[in-house]
Symmetry: D2
Subunit: 358 residues, 4 copies
């Protein structure tokens, strides 16, 4: 931390601030400059409460320096975290790109199977589908709940797809952890610290979506919450942030991809569906995400988006998804990645999956 003194600050004021710092148990490093003095602080383990110092006579400003996260940081772990799924070749964070696809919400067994068959055929390794839907309106469709979880378990058995679905509170967290392969925590719950801690006590990978107005530090701190409880398999996901723009539902902040990769060892996916809210933006932004270096894509696919019970406007058609896969495959090599869609077919036509216990 750094305390910047005012230009007119007296020597006594500088001295008092240094004394205060030492009294708080830290070490003060005064640095007299041409126009003013700055005082460095070391020895603090976490945040120093800056109000203490900010209000002292002669102080202009107090600046936080140290980053508060630990377990998510490359300072702690240099190598990329790679999440594996026993019994499959699918990984998240490895050299192979991760593709998660499926409808916004599970609406029926039939709908889910139609979409699953199509995305599996096109090469997705993960299936997404909402069982519990956080909706802005209490009067909107809220998801099929446990029935949806069971339908997705059948989809795993039949197609070998790993299942990603959202938990919205501590109750649904238990159920999702029981039935799915990856627990999604949605953007609106990114700072639901109670939910993060509970998820941290489980031993299932957690896909954590960036909050609508989360800074990079807050996003990483939310992951730190999960990790601080002992669950180290966290996947970050950029899904657009809220800005003044009105041509898309959210503003997809792709530059967080290299920023995360510089600071953290955790994998990061991109969601171009929520990130734009518009079907005709999904393919361009999927390509852009892979080109920017993301570890993969999570995308909404629906065979009849005009009948979807939620988010129809941003869901792509299965044939668009197949085209997206082709385009991503071409871009993958530019960023020294692979799209491992062949692998899954080798390991899993349906019959070979039968024995897989979950």
């Amino acid at each position: 931390m750094l305390v910047v003194m005012k230009a007119q600050a007296t020597e006594e004021q500088v001295h008092s601030v240094c004394q205060k710092i030492e009294k708080l148990g830290y070490r003060a490093h005064p640095m007299p400059g041409a126009t003013r003095t700055a005082i460095g602080i070391t020895g603090n383990k976490g945040e120093v409460e800056q109000g203490t110092l900010e209000e002292m006579p002669g102080v202009q400003e107090v600046i936080q320096v140290s980053k508060p996260y630990k377990l998510v940081s490359r300072d702690t772990k240099l190598d990329n975290t790679v999440i594996r799924f026993p019994g499959t070749a699918a990984t998240i964070g490895g050299p192979g790109l991760t593709i998660v696809a499926g409808p916004c919400a599970i609406e029926s067994r039939e709908q889910a199977f139609i979409v699953a068959e199509r995305v599996h055929r096109a090469g997705a390794q993960f299936f997404r589908g909402g069982a519990y839907k956080p909706r802005t309106s209490p009067y909107a469709f809220q998801g099929l709940g446990l029935d949806a979880l069971k339908i997705m378990a059948e989809i795993r058995d039949k197609f070998g797809l790993r299942i990603v679905t959202e938990a919205i509170d501590n109750e649904t967290l238990e159920l999702v952890a029981e039935w799915a392969d990856v627990i999604q925590i949605g953007a609106r719950n990114m700072q639901n610290f109670s939910l993060l801690k509970h998820a941290g006590r489980l031993r299932k990978p957690v896909l954590l979506k960036r909050g609508l107005s989360a800074t990079l530090d807050e996003f990483l701190m939310a992951a730190e919450y999960v990790m601080s409880e002992g669950n180290y398999e966290v996947i970050l996901c950029e899904r657009g942030v809220r800005t003044f723009t009105d041509h898309t539902r959210n503003t997809l902040d792709l530059s967080i991809v290299p920023a995360v990769q510089r600071l953290s060892h955790l994998p990061i996916l991109v969601d171009p569906s929520h990130g734009t809210g518009k079907r005709d933006h999904v393919l361009p932004m999927s390509r852009a995400a892979i080109a920017a270096g993301a570890d993969g894509i999570i995308v909404e696919v629906h065979h009849q988006p005009d009948k979807a019970l939620s988010d129809g406007a941003q869901s792509i058609y299965p044939n668009q998804f197949a085209l997206m896969m082709d385009e991503i495959e071409q871009i993958a090599s530019v960023v020294h990645r692979k799209l491992p869609r062949g692998l899954q077919m080798e390991t899993g036509s349906a019959d070979t999956h039968v024995a897989k216990a979950h």
Copy 2:
């Protein structure tokens, strides 16, 4: 809802869109204009999934018109909601201004009582103090929990102050509802719909803070979640939103006060502490909030902010709070309100306060 056709849209395309609308069970109102045709839609109860129409040939844009909220709306209830607290003269939403004051977190019985005594003496009717603290870092102080709730119950008994404190999940919600007078739902949980629904099933007033990037509609819809479960005593609270500015912790959006009052019958308070994050901004913005027409203030007060375990930098001193009360009292009359600080003494546990003249 309104569908705007492209300038080049053909008559058939317009016709197809109208047919689609009718098929969805609504009524279509085509309006041919000089350069293009727009089609109004009526008969929809909630949102029409706009993706359906947006993707049809010839369609330029689809615009939502109807507001999705009902119970929060002045369309449903013209008169202001006034929340009363039996056994006291304190109200929220009535002609008397509501002042909620206290430390960010309950740190000890002693600290809580010192602050409570001071804010009570200066005329506050409500005491706030965090028992469960949502903190950005998992390593930061998380609150005293049940012990804090019990301390605050003692404060209610001793000073007659009504207690406002935050619930952070469904578990703590039960406890807060049992021990406090007003359940606070924090900004980070504004769209924790599970929590909102559970709060809606209780019969205690809910103080709902605006999310960091919540639009007015989303804010009102969050209140609608609570009300849709049968709890009609919801208090809105502006506490600053996240913008590009860096001179304050958040940007206090005071103009939401008249905006809420136009659309809704619910009371709205302002939190200048979180709204600015800086002690020397709290008084100016408290005055501004009352001048803008807010129903009251919720403010952090600490007798030793430099030793506070959280948010010390934004807590004001008790004597600043007393000055704030004087200033607010003067502004109150300009907006045809009163600062009812005398009232509480009459009803309070009288014996301990008889002598207190103000």
Copy 3:
């Protein structure tokens, strides 16, 4: 400036960074901490190009500390700047509040005189009216130009009101400086550095509106541009910034008032008309601005807003303006200010102003 090293940075890397700093002509202050080393830099006059250091091995981050502005700063001049207008009692930045009122645009001599008469009668000391209008659309009304300037000069002669109007480029700047008393530079031109420099060479007060996405530092630096050319009479004006919110045209950031007053000696006004874009928000936010400590208000008034050629929706009626003056007067005393509307009448009923040449 401060260089924060990575946790794994080697001693040689720290040493290299220090050498680089010294080579650039500054002084390096290494501060070894528990987990990492930070290096303070002093001796820099302006900004150090931080890219130089940011890219060196072992460097985590480079943080700017010194503020780049000088002449606008309270470090340079402790006392508030007060701008006086010879021949009147009107001031900007003194104990008396400054009220600037008038139509968005001068539309005709008749319209201008009607509004001027009304705002003068209610106690305004300054008259505003656009002669050159920056409009989003090239097809919208662009102002009457020189004719409008002449009409406003007549208004000054007749009512004793001082004239505030906007210059939009170097050409109109000359004309505005010739005919008006205060040169307004609009939000869209806040970083039109060519215009700022030209305005700095004139000797007329400059009212500088905050840009739609200007930080406090950028706002002050824009004022510094004007002052660096020798014109020290700069008036800052908050007029709302662009955020994600959609319930107002802009988000009025009133907390910049105390923030400016802490850092700078320059006066700051608030524009609730552009700041909200809605007539029914203008009065509440005017009251709030004065309560927050602003030096005054600049507000749009029109006797027939429904026929206004621009910004009708945000213009208040003359009787609303008179009510606003009453309310502001009551709030003024709370913030130890006065509303000097009596003064002007004493010094200037129309006849005494006749002789005043400009």
Copy 4:
């Protein structure tokens, strides 16, 4: 335009609004719905002043529907605008991607030539370099002015590169138009309407950068300003917008690329240098921009960024630029574009480049 009435609006109120609309010269289309009535308006040429209607009794809200731009719209011109440069194969907006590269500012003849030689060798068709620099601080380097323009003219002669440089006011506009091939108008001047109009009277292509907080509509309207004066060769450029994020200097909004392409026939480039402000983000975001479908890239390149007089931290090295070109070339085919770097050699001042193999 659409007027939404309140739920409680009476029939007379609806009738009055319709009458008012007709009186304003438009046609009213009342649409009674289940809970409220909406009234469509047609026949308006430009914007209807919505304040007129918004304030009428019974009116809930007024919604603008028609887009105000004309010449920039695909409604007016379906085919993409392709800008050609006589004597070269370089185009902007055609099937070939456009690459503009060079230093932030021209610092010396030597520096400019070194960078120009390197970017030309790597295949750029356009050279950028600041002659007039808009700097946040009046004390920062402001550019070499005319000398820089002359240096760039020499670069055109020697390497066959077309020159892109910024004009900052009407005076420099004349000079830039005389010496350069493309006139850049910077983000801070995007709504300097005087400058836009003057640029519109010239017959040189205009590269218009998006303002820091410009919506898509405002961006297109700024282009409309240029076109409305008769200059139809406008190139749009996304360069990042201002948001709450702090991990990059600006937030690069790549999704504006497909949004522009849907609404307008104008070409759109992306500037990853200003768009991120960080060297290590430039390559990922350049790849992402091309993958998203942009017509090209404008990028800062410097051979000694640590000695650059401005924006060193975001300038890439020449060898990084060469790598970027290779990566872009691979992505180009995915989006059905070409990187025409071979072409220029054929047409360039051939003798000096014969030997250059790529």
